[in-house]
Amino acid sequence: MLAALALTAIPPEDEALRGDVRAFLDATIAALPPEVRARSWMGFDADFSRRLAANGWIGLTLPAEYGGGGRSPFARFVLVEELLARGAPVSAHWIADRQSGPLILKYGSEAQRRFYLPRICKAEAFFCIGMSEPDTGSDLASVRSRATRVDGGWRLNGRKVWTTNAHRSHYMLALVRTSGSPQDRNRGLSQMIVDLGAQGVTVRPIRDLTGDAHFSEIVLEDVFLPEESLLGREGSGWEQVLAELAYERSGPERLLSASVLLEEWLAHLRQRGGATGEEAQALGRIVAHLAVLRALSIAVTAQLAHGEDPVLAAAVVKDLGTEVEQHVPEAIGRLLAADPLAAPPATLLRTLAYTTQIAPTYSLRGGTREILRGMIARGLGLR
């Protein structure tokens, strides 16, 4: 059964960060139109990332000796939720900050830590995640990209796809096969840090239904990987990837992806001079769900902070969270068009359009809804 999650307070010293982040956002992104801010953790702005880094706000939880902030996961929780609630464009450093950095700290050699972590913290090294392939989606253990031993390192061949920001990142942390065949499933997989500037790497951006090109296809042809590209142990890629996914599934980004739309709609209702009963209920339902989810997300963060491995609880938070995130544009669209003659502000409609179009991805990336529910069923002892 799922262990009960305890209601947890964010420690005051971490809560204290909130005011500084808000003041910073007032000074930096207040003028950005909402349809741009709606992109939030999909919004790429390397300059903005460098300004965050100048404040010491990238790699906040990494040890100071590697250029990090040495703070607790709760400090990062406060920072991230304030960034996302306002729709700050955090995508450039997002993956490096959330998972590649912590993973390199956990599994990397001392040399790898010293090489990558300070650059991550300075927003000089952006990462993407090389998991999916043309024939490998939910069935992650079936990856075919293969690194074979050569003098002084490895030679990598294969393809990766749906890789967010691959065309504007410096490195990809890729899951590849280093021994055996796809029939060996999760045995024989390893994680490699691939320099996306290396010879033999071709990155082709893929345009999504919103008109953005946030993800890419990557072709890897005889890419030479020096010895030190291997992260962690050869053959331990599967365990490392699972640990990585726990970082990816329970954070504030699983509740706040539609936050800018929600706030724009609220501002519109207030400006219009009030809400119908149905609008008030829809707003109240979203707030009630998000309040409970945030409490759950904080509880999972507490488990991470205590060094536990809350894989199941994180899956619960992600599935519940993405459901609410997807409900937000669905409900707001329905209510905005309840009166066929109403003319809501164009900027609100543009924010709605973007959020509606991107919302299906919320429950695809980081593990689909069906995969997460399968994991939870396993946790219940059914599989």
């Binding site: 059964m1 209601l7 964010i10 936050s259 706030e263 008030a280 109240g284 619960v316 069923a377």
Partner: protein, 347 residues
Amino acid sequence: MRELLADTVERILADLCTPAIVRAAEEGAWPAALWRRIEEAGLPVALAPERDGGAGLGWRDVSPVLVAAGRHAAPVPLGEAIAAHALVAAAGSALPEGVPTLALFEGAPNRARSRWSVRARSVPYARNATWVVGTLAGDDPRQSTELLVMKTADAAVAPGPQLAGEGRCDLAWSEAEPALRAPLAGGPSALEVGAALRSAQIAGGIARLLALAVQYAGERKQFGKPIGKFQAIQQQLAVLGELAAAAAMAAELAHDADGLAPDPVRVACAKARTSEAAAAAAAIAHAVHGAIGVTQEHALQLYTRRLWGWRLDFGSEAYWTGVIGRGVLGADGPAWQQILDASSARA
């Protein structure tokens, strides 16, 4: 103290709250032994001050007790009694000996305010209770103006519609003298403490549904294997597990208060969330159980009927989402601030 109370109530209910006892209680047999143990353990007066024989605890301490009452479908007004003593204590008074239950009053006093003509609908365990404790609502039903303790013996009692055999009755007092009366303006209202209480019971009830449904899916075989091996069933039970997790956290939020007054916004969020979850969870549990689940013989219905009832008590999600929404609209600043204020444990 929370853990001690949780252990105590779990022991008592595991012992004396079997499905057989719940069924007998639904037929009108008051589980006297169970109630005696509950009283001996001091559970009803947990929130009353020590000078009045209570334990002087706050809502946070008793939330596991309320959740356990829901998980065991305890056929006694355990939560109602805790809430009743809390309301009376909040008004600076103490409740005499006897079994209390909880109600929302509607009505008015005579000119001298000495005698009251009031009604209370769908009061659980009315025939077994000595006292009906509640508040009189102001213009907004969440605001209390007056605490009233009425004697059940003085009321005209009519059996009300029963979703779950909790002895629900409609009560009416005509020019009756309250056993106790105190102004409670600005204090907790029966609607709020009742909503908090039901959110915890719902969390407990959903936890029970999850246990029953997972067990059944492992035992029942079709097409040569346990139905829990089918993805269609697994996906539904995963959702049930998620609902259980969300309801449990919502109940914690509702009771995240040191004293006698739960936080109004947290209660609103909790009752809205758990009420929605109650209906969804019951639907899944019944779908997984198939026809056996809708028989009297099977225990599932003892819990699902209560969940449906608790969802409607003290305002369903339709009421509380409206309350929350209007609150956010009327406040300044982003919805985000309201979400923050309602979701972090009070340090």
